[in-house]
């Protein structure tokens, strides 16, 4: 793999949810690979998936362990360097996250409007393509509060994909149902083109994990550790 930047590598990584520490198994995800991060046991609420995703997406520092994303340790980067790194990261939040004062189309196009579309393309045209591919075209002019939960999730997938990220972090399985969905096909296509992805689950999902396994994906388990002594406050980055 020399000369190829590893999208994500972790060592003894731990995250904290409401004072409980969760340890992730060490993993390295290369380009074109994906992994599901699954707790060994059922967890009340979806906070674990969100907490893991936040760490993997460089939003929050891990309470312990090492994380390398796209060849950098996020903890050692300045704010501007971190911003530049994050342009290459796509996070699909399981809920919220769409700007309520913008339409779905504007939300999807926003990263391209701010950073420029990949390959000097037109951000709005790219957004329209993604909206059509994910079945979101009828909702393009709707505001986030006017669409249902799964439509909002698909919009977040479209927004995460618009800058063609090298590292994708997905919270939960969204609209996945047995045979996948248009959104999951788009995510799979991004991975096939060389992105790496981590799907953070709040609870074991055997059917989804099998689906992922069939596409070359792996599973990393996380387990509950001893309660921490710290304050439990997360450090925003």
């Amino acid at each position: 793999m020399s000369g190829v930047t590893v999208p994500c590598a972790t060592a003894a990584l731990a995250v904290e949810v409401e004072g409980v520490r969760w340890w992730l198994g060490d993993f390295t995800v290369g380009p074109g690979q994906w992994v599901a991060v699954v707790p060994r046991e059922e967890v009340a609420g979806g906070d674990l998936a969100v907490a893991v995703a936040r760490v993997l997406a460089t939003l929050v520092a891990p309470v312990q362990g090492a994380l390398e994303v796209l060849g950098s340790d996020p903890q050692r980067l300045s704010y501007l360097e971190l911003q530049a790194l994050r342009r290459r990261i796509g996070l699909v939040q399981s809920w919220g996250g769409l700007l309520s004062n913008r339409t779905i189309a504007e939300n999807v196009a926003l990263p391209a409007r701010v950073h420029g579309a990949p390959h000097r393309g037109d951000g709005d045209a790219l957004a329209a393509e993604l909206l059509a591919a994910l079945g979101l075209a009828p909702f393009a002019e709707a505001r986030p509060h006017q669409v249902d939960r799964l439509t909002g999730w698909r919009a977040r997938v479209a927004r995460a994909l618009i800058l063609q990220p090298a590292w994708l972090v997905v919270e939960g399985i969204g609209d996945w149902e047995g045979g996948g969905s248009a959104a999951w096909s788009a995510l799979a296509a991004a991975v096939a083109k060389g992105a790496a992805a981590a799907v953070c689950l709040a609870r074991p999902a055997p059917a989804f994990q099998s689906w992922l396994l069939a596409r070359g994906g792996g599973t990393v388990s996380c387990h509950r550790g001893a309660p921490s002594v710290g304050t439990g406050r997360e450090e925003r980055r």
Partner: protein, 255 residues
């Protein structure tokens, strides 16, 4: 006391960061930043036009009518002109206008930003490599300040015009005396003081509003807390600042 100093230093740092991001992030979607600035000007300035103008009408009429009744018809014109400039334009206009903007916009900004935090919208911006300071805070400060200055001008113009209209009922020659006195009472120093009151006062409560909005945690119960802190601390800052400047001017004149 220590907590107050700590909060004040946070607020100054917050203002510095938002100003710095305007320069550092100038290539990060300037059109999107401009869009946010214009939206803020619209929400604060255009939508606040009617209440500010209505207050200005009431103030213009009351100041002229009561002033005329108090100083009497003989020397009324000149005295009233000074009264309008010193009290209405110098004290009441910046305080009332800022009060309206504080109640309408600063609280709305604090609520909006706090809800954005709760709804993970700020987190979404951060993970896209889009600075929330540049795209949320700086435009609200710039747009809010532009609108506040414009509303002060509107208040002054409407109050003076209404006040002059009232002088139509005064003895012959009084309107001209009022206009002359108004003109004579306008000084560069007066404009400087007024500008300081409006700009620093407005910047202060907008920074307070943005800070408390951004400071909210992911809990929905933080939204009303952010709004209430923004309103109360903004009001305290505004009154203390404007009173402080006025007292400073009076002290400087040896009064």
């Amino acid at each position: 006391m220590l907590a107050g100093v700590r909060t004040a230093s946070f607020l100054v740092g917050f203002l510095y960061l938002s100003a710095k991001m305007l320069w550092v992030g100038r290539h990060q979607g300037p059109r999107e930043v401009l869009r946010e600035v214009l939206l803020q000007v619209y929400f604060t300035g255009v939508q606040g036009l009617v209440p500010v103008a209505a207050l200005a009408v009431v103030m213009g009429v009351l100041a002229m009518a009561w002033g005329f009744a108090a100083v009497g018809p003989l020397t009324g014109g000149e005295e009233l002109g000074r009264l309008i400039v010193l009290v209405v334009l110098g004290e009441v206009a910046p305080l009332l206008t800022a009060g309206v903007v504080l109640v309408r916009s600063a609280t709305a900004i604090a609520a909006e930003l706090a809800v954005m935090r709760v709804q993970r919208e700020i987190e979404a911006l951060e993970v896209m490599g889009i600075s929330p300071m540049l795209h949320l805070v700086s435009p609200r400060l710039v747009g809010g300040l532009v609108a506040l200055v414009a509303l002060n001008v509107v208040f002054a113009v409407v109050a003076v015009t209404t006040g002059l209209a009232v002088t139509a009922w005064m003895p012959k020659g009084a309107p001209l005396a009022v206009i002359n006195a108004l003109w004579g009472a306008l000084t560069p120093e007066g404009f400087l003081v007024l500008g300081g009151k409006v700009v620093v006062g407005g910047l202060g409560f907008f920074v307070i509003a943005c800070y408390h909005g951004m400071e909210a945690s992911s809990s929905p119960t933080d939204v009303p807390v952010a709004v209430s802190r923004a309103a109360l601390r903004g009001l305290v800052f505004l009154v203390v600042w404007q009173a402080g400047v006025s007292l400073g001017v009076l002290w400087g004149r040896g009064l």
